[in-house]
């Protein structure tokens, strides 16, 4: 049984976030992004092949060192610089946020400074939330950007997204009680303002914060077992329960 996540399919799409953001962007970005995607996939396949096969250590090291992202970062930075201040810079900056490593911070600053009203901020607050939860990105940096979007955007739906994904980072990382308390309020706002999907997500997270924390009485479950017999979680009160959400994948 392998771990499986609903977020993962989203993330796979996100890996190509630069490309996705590029939908309305001019060809130069698209071309560069496509080129990178091809090169990266090839490298990734080579790496997997080498790790599975009986590759000697120096050859494996050579392949690992040939990771193509560092070569591309300056090219995307150049694109962002060339189009600085215009919407055409956004896909380059989005790519840098996803792939840029330490260059992501500058890209975020640029986005906050020049593009905070743009609809793509919805995607950026989401992509950094996932990365912050998996420690692929500084938590505080992600929260700071999300807060800026939430407070400055004029679009209530984007505000809802920023608030939701900030609460998502706060609940998934080590956070203070003040942050958690704030998250409850923010999620209530996200439920109010968000589009259908954000509303639903915010409701779920709100429920988790209010009912599924350590020290809280677990909500009861009523349902049928695999043989169709109805039972309740509370039927097992008096025993220690390991509740295991599983699937055979």
């Amino acid at each position: 049984m392998k771990p499986k996540s609903l977020i993962l399919p989203l993330l796979t799409g996100l890996l190509m976030a630069g490309a996705a953001i590029a939908q309305d962007a001019p060809d130069a970005f698209q071309k560069l992004s496509d080129e990178f995607t091809v090169v990266w996939r090839k490298w990734s396949a080579d790496k997997t092949g080498a790790q599975r096969g009986k590759t000697d250590e120096s050859e494996l090291k050579r392949i690992l060192d040939a990771e193509p992202t560092p070569k591309y970062i300056p090219r995307f930075q150049a694109g962002a610089k060339q189009h600085k201040g215009t919407n055409e810079a956004i896909p380059y900056l989005g790519w840098l946020v996803s792939w840029g490593g330490t260059a992501a911070n500058d890209a975020l600053d640029q986005l906050a400074h020049d593009h905070i009203q743009h609809a793509q901020m919805s995607r950026i607050v989401f992509s950094i939330a996932l990365k912050a939860r998996r420690s692929g990105f500084s938590r505080d940096q992600a929260l700071a950007f999300q807060s800026q979007v939430a407070s400055k955007t004029k679009d209530p739906k984007i505000k809802a997204d920023a608030l939701f994904w900030r609460a998502y980072v706060i609940t998934g990382t080590e956070s203070s009680d003040t942050e958690k308390k704030q998250s409850l309020q923010d999620l209530a706002v996200a439920v109010e303002l968000g589009d259908k999907r954000t509303k639903q997500r915010a409701k779920g997270l709100l429920f988790e914060l209010q009912n599924l924390q350590i020290g809280m009485v677990a909500p009861d479950i009523t349902g049928k077992d695999l043989d169709g017999v109805e039972f309740k979680l509370s039927d097992y009160r008096g025993k220690v329960i390991m509740l295991d959400f599983w699937g055979d994948w």
Partner: protein, 100 residues
């Protein structure tokens, strides 16, 4: 994970302990077959034909599988997503309190 679950259930069979699953496979017939073949003796809720988007995992805001909660004899959530030896320890220490 099955071997771990099986050994937990076997090891704690005389203790006040229950492993309750929430199965999120869409195909009920397939799960029944797996349950028989792999001798999964513990009881599971079925999350329904929508699989991972079924009502129980949605209500519990589950986004990753497996997700594990450890609940004490009074129904209080005591641990979330502990794994491996830590999971065994968490369960055993809660049972120990009960045994006293």
């Amino acid at each position: 994970m099955y071997p771990h679950e099986r050994s937990l259930v076997a090891q704690l069979k005389d203790k006040p302990f229950a492993l309750i699953g929430v199965n999120s496979d869409k195909d009920l017939a397939k799960v029944r077959k797996i349950k028989a073949e792999k001798s999964l003796t513990w009881r599971s809720f079925w999350n329904g034909p929508q699989g991972m988007l079924g009502p129980i995992s949605t209500a519990w805001n589950v986004e990753g599988w497996p997700t594990v909660y450890v609940i004490d004899h009074q129904g209080v959530i005591r641990h979330k997503n502990v794994r491996g030896d830590k999971l065994d320890e968490a369960i055993e220490s809660l049972i120990e309190i009960l045994d006293k």
